[in-house]
């Protein structure tokens, strides 16, 4: 399994070179790899079906209990087969479809990259690993939707898809973490249970169960385009047709369904009234109906299919929620065939006849018979026409039977299924029949002709497989669907699964309802003008308060909010930044004191202070006030010098001759530099009004007061014993050959031995400042040259003095 992922990842990177050197054969070359991998998966059907599945695992972060664990069971197998085999068909198709595109190499790189992510998603057993692949599919989907990035709707659609699925994915990550820890609680494992195959029973009894369900479903429902998050899927149709067929019909949008199915045995409550089941049935049934209804108002080929895919995804979610895993698995497989086929047909019609709108075209049967045959088979399958021996019919019978067996919800769900079924019949006629046999209101834009064989292969095979599915189910349908269904159910089925069409050839209520839906669908087709007119008020409503509009409002609000916040916080004014910082720090102090109620004790043993100290203190205090008031630049420099020297004397008095010496030297240098440049500097000007100055003074004084209290408080605390005793010990060796720093000045040995990297950093800062000064002076050297030389000299001196 890991090998297959590695092969695909390498293939993705190599795709541009393959495209360059393989020429027209690129589709065949590229498709061979997923086809081979798919064949390998197919050979594993018996092994995967026996419950345990195939497990591969490599330690990843063993400290955190995370491992790269992959597991192939029935459910993974169903999806892995769809990802690789439909993927192979789509690559073959895309090799011809994208012919001549100048960025074809990039396209295949993205497409195979997606294939890798999707395969990883369905094989991953570890929750974090699953999430990583999940987001990778979102990102590759973004790249593929926006592939034609010169078109505005491509970019908008790509961003919309990324925002909706990305936000859902983040919620899901939180949900998965809660899930892992809740599972750890139940299983008695500290640090959580991260492998899905090891999740314990009875999660629904955990206190965090509602959170797990809400957050995990937020990810699944957005990814699988459930109402009201469905709107991104039609927008994603800006992608090239192979992408729509592959990502937005067969695989990626089913990731949410996959995860729901995967977690169903663990999160289900077992009753239809449970939170998990209730949400699934509610969202699924609504999406099934709304998606199908919205599709009936479309005329663009791919948008019709997109909305109908939304509806199908709703069906899958609903069937899992209703507790019919067999019906869900049967439908997933059938849907991948007929919908994937129709999307590819839509691409052919666009590519070979230049038409995107099904309302206008018809009678393409003569020009493209093979395509028409595939489309009709897929259309009949999708419509689930009664007694037609196709996959769609079987899946639909199972679905209606599930609806008729829904306890108190029977009437409601059956009605919704039949209504959605009628709409689906209409969509099937519009997409599978109308373009080829229907009435054309005009000639196609291009001279229509049959597609080349690489483009025909996948749709025709998918359409024919639909017949094989229902006529010879034992060949592949029954084993795959049974294995997947049992994995969703979490145990073996009581009775063998029947997927052969003839089993459903009996006079029953289900068959009657299916027939009714078909008749209504045909009726809508013939009265479609009237239908569009009758439903337009709802469409207007959707345009004003619909989910897509809400998304637009939210995005607009986000942009405007960001601008407003930027104008306030990042307005480019230094004064505002300083004020913000000060207010924030003061606020944090106040909050900390309020929260802890802790005012630190302050030592009050203030001994008598000598005359020298008083002189120093008073001179600093006076200078600090005077420095802010003086109008003369030179006098201010002198006052600053006083402060600097006084501080140096304080250091000298209290046992810091080194710091004092440095301070003396630096202070002298600063005064010298200041005096040198002072007459090149502007005069002191008062720019702010009185009110601003008073406010600033108040803020500064408050902060100063807080700092004074902080100093007193901090000085009186001793959280740790000072480490100076260690420096004293380590300075000189006890014996002549002992290990030590070999220095008598403790400050010096700290600087050059114990904190030497710190000193190195300091020298780097000095160096950078020196370079900065030099550049600023040299940038335009028509100004005076002497100060430059002197200032450089100053920098050098200080570095030497320090070292």
């Amino acid at each position: 399994m890991m090998l297959s992922l590695a092969i695909l990842a390498l293939l993705s990177v190599a795709a541009p070179w393959v495209c360059r050197y393989a020429g027209p054969a690129r589709g065949v070359v590229l498709a061979a790899f997923p086809l081979g991998i798919g064949a390998w998966f197919a050979s594993k059907i018996p092994a995967a079906a026996d419950g345990e599945g195939i497990v591969e695992s490599v330690a990843w972060l063993p400290e955190l209990g995370l491992e790269l664990s992959f597991r192939l069971d029935g459910l993974s197998l169903l999806f892995a087969l769809m990802v690789t085999l439909i993927g192979a068909g789509v690559l073959l198709y895309a090799g011809a479809y994208m012919k001549g595109h100048h960025q074809i190499g990039r396209f295949f790189c993205y497409l195979i990259g997606f294939m890798t992510s999707m395969l990883g998603l369905v094989l991953a057993d570890n929750l974090i690993l699953l999430f990583i692949f999940w987001e990778l599919t979102s990102i590759t989907s973004y790249l593929l939707i926006g592939f034609n990035h010169d078109k505005k709707e491509s970019r908008a659609g790509a961003l919309q898809a990324l925002m909706v699925t990305g936000l859902g994915g983040l919620a899901m990550l939180a949900g998965l973490v809660v899930l892992a820890f809740a599972a750890g609680d139940l299983a008695g494992v500290a640090g959580g249970v991260w492998n899905m195959s090891e999740l314990p029973e009875g999660l629904s009894g955990h206190a965090h169960y509602p959170w797990i369900v809400a957050l995990v479903l937020a990810g699944c429902l957005t990814k699988s385009a459930q109402f009201p998050f469905h709107f991104w899927l039609p927008s994603a149709m800006a992608a090239p047709s192979p992408v729509s067929a592959y990502l937005h019909s067969s695989t990626m949008v089913k990731a949410g369904v996959y995860l729901i199915a995967r977690l169903h045995p663990n999160l289900a409550t077992g009753t239809a009234e449970g939170l998990w089941e209730g949400l699934l049935i509610g969202f699924g049934a609504t999406t099934m109906f709304v998606g199908a209804y919205l599709a009936t108002r479309q005329t663009l080929y791919k948008r019709l299919l997109a909305y109908s895919t939304v509806s199908s995804l709703g069906v899958m979610v609903m069937l899992i929620g209703m507790g019919h895993p067999d019906a869900a698995a049967a439908y997933i497989l059938a849907h991948a065939m007929f919908k994937g086929c129709l999307f590819l047909v839509a691409g052919i019609v666009d590519h070979e006849a230049g038409e995107k709108d099904v309302a206008e075209i018809g009678r393409l049967f003569r020009a493209m018979p093979a395509t028409a045959l595939a489309a009709v088979l897929a259309g009949i399958s999708m419509a689930g026409v009664p007694l037609a021996p196709l996959a769609g019919f079987v899946a639909k019978e199972k679905m209606i039977k599930a609806g008729l067996d829904a306890g108190p919800l029977t009437a409601l769900l059956t009605a919704l299924i039949i209504a959605a079924g009628s709409f689906t019949v209409f969509i099937a006629i519009m997409t599978g029949f109308k373009p080829f046999f229907g009435k054309a209101s005009r000639e196609p834009k291009k001279h229509a002709h049959e597609a080349p064989w690489p483009m025909l292969a996948a749709p025709v095979i998918l359409a024919v497989l639909g017949i094989v599915y229902a006529l010879v189910p034992a060949l592949f349908a029954t084993p795959v669907v049974t294995a997947a269904g049992e994995a969703i159910k979490g145990g073996p089925f009581e009775a063998a699964l029947r997927l052969d069409a003839f089993y459903y050839y009996e006079i029953s209520l289900a068959l009657g309802l299916s027939l009714l839906a078909t008749l209504i669908g045909v009726g809508i087709y013939f009265g479609r003008g009237l239908w569009v007119k009758a439903t337009s008020p709802f469409a207007k409503l959707d345009g004003v308060v619909g989910p897509a509009k809400m998304y637009d409002y939210a995005m607009l609000g986000l942009t405007k909010g960001s601008w407003a916040q930027t104008r306030v916080l990042q307005n480019g004014s230094l004064q505002v930044y300083i004020k913000m910082t000060l207010v924030a720090i003061l606020g944090m102090f106040a909050w900390a004191i309020w929260r802890t109620g802790f005012l630190p004790s302050v030592g009050t043993n203030f001994e008598r202070t000598g005359l020298l100290e008083w002189v120093l203190i008073i001179s600093i205090a006076v200078s600090a006030i005077v420095a802010t008031r003086l109008g003369s630049r030179l006098a201010t420099v002198a006052v600053l010098g006083v402060i600097g020297y006084a501080v140096a004397v304080v250091f000298a008095l209290y046992g810091g001759p080194d710091a004092a010496m440095t301070q003396f030297a630096v202070e002298t240098l600063i005064v010298v530099i200041f005096v040198l440049v002072v007459y090149h500097l502007p005069r002191f000007a008062v720019y702010s009004g009185l009110a601003v100055r008073v406010m600033d003074l108040l803020l500064a004084a408050t902060f100063g007061g807080v700092m004074a209290c902080l100093v007193l408080a901090a000085g009186s605390q001793e959280l740790f014993a000072p480490i100076s005793a260690y420096f004293n010990e380590a300075a000189m060796p006890e014996t002549p050959d002992g290990q030590s720093a070999y220095g008598r000045n403790l400050v010096n040995i700290i600087l050059v031995d114990f904190r030497s990297v710190d000193t190195l950093g300091e020298l780097v800062v000095l160096g950078i400042a020196a370079i900065g000064v030099y550049t600023l002076m040299k940038l335009r050297d028509d100004q005076e040259g002497t100060p430059v030389a002197e200032r450089e000299g100053d920098e050098d001196q200080s570095e030497e003095g320090d070292a």
């Binding site: 480019g572 004014s573 004064q575 030592g603 203030f606 001994e607 202070t609 203190i617 600093i620 205090a621 600090a624 630049r633 201010t636 600053l640 402060i643 600097g644 501080v647 250091f651 209290y654 046992g655 080194d658 710091a659 440095t662 630096v666 600063i670 440049v677 500097l681 502007p682 002191f684 000007a685 008062v686 720019y687 003074l697 500064a700 902060f703 100063g704 700092m707 209290c709 100093v711 007193l712 009186s716 000072p722 420096f727 004293n728 300075a731 060796p733 008598r744 403790l746 400050v747 600087l751 904190r755 300091e762 000095l766 400042a769 900065g772 600023l776 002076m777 100004q783 100053d794 920098e795």
Partner: protein, 121 residues
């Protein structure tokens, strides 16, 4: 002494921040110099104050010739090492800012920060 130093530090911070909030670029530079002094004094005072709030003049951390260690109390060398580093870096910043002010004034013709904002956008 620690009480007096605390008051001084508060005053230095207040005047430094007041100067930094001025629109004049030169005054901002003076504020930077002042805040450097405040921070150095803060490190020193916090380290030198004892739990009861007293502060004593102690001999520096220097080992006598012929000895291998200091006997008796001595001033904690670590805060002075930190301050020494801080002084040098503050000096580098000051020198750079001064030249920047001079240069900006030459180029823009004003030292009103509010009039320089266009280059920040």
């Amino acid at each position: 002494m620690s009480l007096l130093l605390a008051v001084i530090i508060g005053m230095l911070f207040a005047s430094a921040l007041y100067m930094m909030m001025r629109r004049s670029f030169v005054k901002l530079t003076i504020g930077l110099i002042l805040i450097g002094h405040s921070a150095n004094l803060l490190i020193f005072t916090c380290a030198a104050t004892r739990r009861d709030g007293s502060m004593e003049r102690l001999p520096p951390g220097l080992i006598e010739e012929g000895q291998t260690r200091i006997e008796g109390e001595f001033a904690d060398p670590l805060p002075f090492a930190l301050i020494l580093t801080a002084i040098v870096i503050a000096f580098a910043i000051t020198a750079f800012t001064l030249v920047l002010v001079k240069r900006a004034y030459q180029e823009v013709g004003t030292d009103d920060l509010d009039n320089m904002r266009t280059t920040d956008r």
